[in-house]
């Protein structure tokens, strides 16, 4: 049977349809690419939960959080995460004690005191330094900072949390300085001019006007820096020692969560063994810690943002 003339598709319309189909296919492909990000998150959470669940079939959750020893690879196995958490928190606290004052003062100096030219030179250098690989900082901690500290405290062990923490602090100075400086730059010029007109000095303006106005961005920088310090691996794996140790004394040697994962991964643990599963349980705790810091940081920035 022959089609009536009206039903045949004109070449122009056919071209249009082809064009539309092609457009839709391209949009679909691009969307699939964006979905890779979502898939990655789900895969991370999925893998961590799946392996941790097998881990918690052997180990009770209560033991996990209350036992004071972490020796999954020994004959007499204990599975208390607290020694790893104490190591992680101590090294991060030392890092912050170094990076927060130096980073903040650098940021205030850059934003309020330095000339335009200095800022134009220093800002890119800060960005460059954020990109220095962390394994290199590990070398620095082990072969430069620790021997230096040992000349002050001769009894310091060669692997210790103090040296690793200090180097980690140096590592995150550029990060805090750069982010805090961005927050201070965003404070409108009119506020500074108002302050100068009242006879305030630069120092008074910086401390009493600009810093309070930018505080949400500055605090967010601190919190995101904590999250970075908690997740930092190579410096602590190289310089802080690999012996889980429930202590908050910076002069001791102790393992962090990340250092433990590295230590186990370097050995040859069979897939499916309890030691293998334990690194996923440790990873889950690490993920929970960094995720809560990240969410808290973004929340602080949003909630306390001053709008002008």
């Amino acid at each position: 049977m022959q089609l009536p003339a009206q039903l045949t598709i004109s070449p122009r319309l056919a071209k249009n349809i082809r064009r539309n189909v092609k457009e839709r296919i391209i949009e679909l492909i691009l969307m699939m690419a964006a979905l890779v990000a979502v898939a990655t998150t789900f895969a991370i959470v999925g893998v961590l939960l799946y392996e941790s669940l097998s881990f918690f079939k052997t180990v009770s959750v209560i033991d996990f959080f209350t036992d004071t020893q972490w020796t999954p690879l020994f004959e007499d196995a204990h599975y208390g995460i607290m020694p790893l958490v104490s190591g992680t928190l101590t090294t991060s606290a030392i890092a912050l004690a170094v990076a927060v004052p130096i980073g903040t003062i650098s940021a205030i100096f850059l934003s309020e005191f330095a000339s335009h030219k200095t800022r134009e030179i220093v800002k890119p250098i800060l960005e460059l330094l954020v990109g220095v690989p962390t394994v290199v900082f590990g070398y620095f901690a082990l072969f430069f900072v620790t021997p230096l500290l040992q000349s002050i405290y001769p009894s310091l062990p060669s692997f210790n949390m103090l040296g690793a923490g200090i180097v980690m602090g140096v590592m995150i100075i550029p990060y805090i300085a750069s982010m805090s400086e961005d927050a201070m730059r965003a404070v409108p010029m009119s506020m500074r001019e108002g302050s100068y007109a009242m006879g305030a000095t630069r120092f008074q303006t910086a401390i009493k006007v600009v810093t309070p106005a930018a505080i949400s961005g500055i605090v967010a920088a601190y919190i995101l820096a904590v999250s970075r310090a908690v997740g930092e691996t190579m410096v602590v794996a190289i310089a802080a020692g690999q012996q889980p140790n429930l202590t908050f004394n910076p002069l001791d040697s102790a393992a962090t969560i990340t250092a433990y994962i590295v230590q186990v991964a370097m050995g040859d643990l069979p897939h499916g063994s309890i030691g293998y599963q334990s690194i996923f349980a440790a990873g889950l705790v690490l993920m929970a810690m960094t995720l809560s810091f990240n969410i808290f940081g973004h929340w602080v920035r949003k909630k306390y943002r001053e709008s002008y």
Binding site: K22, E23, I26, E27, L30, M31, A33, A34, A37, V38, T40, A43, V47, L48, I102, G103, S106, I108, F109, L110, F113, P124, I125, E127, L128, L129, G131, P133, V135, V136, F137, G138, Y139, F140, F143, F144, V170, A177, T201, R202, F203, S227, R228, G231, E232, T233, M234, T258, I261, V262, A265, H271, I279, F280, L286, M287, T290, L291, N294, H298
Partner: protein
């Protein structure tokens, strides 16, 4: 009389106060400069330390020798070849996916909960510690998908790791293109994809490139995720060559080969007790730093050039 004296006294007070405040100002400026220098100087010191410790190994033999049990003969050949191959897998996965995702989020995505979900995921992924990517790779790529501890696994892992960097910088670059460009293209009858590909993408090329370079520099220096997938550290062979002399001239066996990369080799050398190996570690560290700084420097310079040359 008494009144005048008190005014004068007040004036003296005020002058003293001004002087004090000016001194505080100068003191703080000095403190700020010291802090800034302290941060920068420490990093210079770090670089100097690596060069001072590693300089005996700055020669071509170091790049053409395999790792060895004897520190004096050990070289970086398998490590730099491994880095190059892993980075090429990372580049081939992260760049197309990241740029496409950036184009979608900026040009196509409707404003709804689904788009919000993707955006929250991207910003969260940027804050996930790198070692967690290593665990993901260990569970998913090495065991579930059975890729083994191979170049493919490492390349994909680092690709996922730098994906957020590529997406975010693509979006920033696209956002700098004014709407008028898009309107002009639509006005002469272009389809959406023609607008996006021929105009938006091509004009934001420089900005996207900046993000890609920064991401690749990050991937080059990453150690933790590669250790976590269980990459061997003593590799005294090269993966099969990707190019062969017989048709079809390409060979993909290298993807499933064992490997080592420069930061892993450095970690391996510096965790040995023998001091002779520490020299090798320092030399490797110096090389890694030089390459990453050059890449990051190129990216920052490129961004600076683009900002200066914006025509609209």
């Amino acid at each position: 009389m008494e009144h005048k004296a008190s005014v004068l006294e007040n004036l003296a007070d005020v002058r003293a106060m001004i002087k004090r405040h000016k001194r505080n100002d100068a003191l703080f400026a000095t403190l700020g400069l010291i802090c800034l220098m302290l941060g920068l100087m420490t990093l210079m010191l770090l670089f100097w330390q690596l060069i001072a410790d590693g300089h005996p190994k700055f020669n071509l033999d170091f790049l053409t020798e395999f790792p060895s049990r004897r520190a004096g003969r050990a070289g970086l050949l398998s490590a730099w070849v491994g880095s190059l191959l892993v980075m090429s897998v990372t580049f081939l996965t992260a760049v197309p996916v990241g740029v496409a995702a950036g184009l979608y989020l900026e040009e196509y995505a409707p404003k709804n909960w689904f788009t919000d979900l993707i955006e929250i995921n991207v910003s969260n992924l940027a804050g996930v510690p790198s070692i967690i990517y290593g665990l993901l790779a260990l569970g998913l790529f090495v065991y579930m998908l059975d890729f083994g501890q191979s170049i493919l696994t490492a390349g994909l892992t680092l690709g996922l790791l730098i994906l957020p960097i590529v997406i975010v910088s693509t979006r920033e670059a696209i956002r700098a293109i004014p709407v008028s460009i898009r309107e002009a293209a639509y006005g002469v009858g272009a389809t959406k994809w023609q607008v996006v590909y021929d105009h938006v993408f091509k004009y934001s090329y420089g900005g996207i490139l900046t993000g890609i370079i920064i991401g690749m520099a990050r991937a080059l220096g990453e150690t933790a995720p590669i250790i976590t997938i269980g990459a061997l550290t003593f590799i005294a062979f090269l993966p099969p060559s990707p190019i062969t002399t017989e048709p079809p001239f390409l060979n993909f066996e290298w993807l499933s080969s064992g490997f080592t990369v420069m930061p892993i080799q450095m970690f391996n050398w510096l965790s040995r007790p023998d001091h002779a190996f520490h020299v090798n570690a320092a030399a490797t560290g110096a090389l890694i730093i030089v390459v990453t700084l050059l890449m990051n420097g190129a990216a920052i310079w490129l961004r600076y050039k683009i900002r200066k040359n914006i025509k609209w």
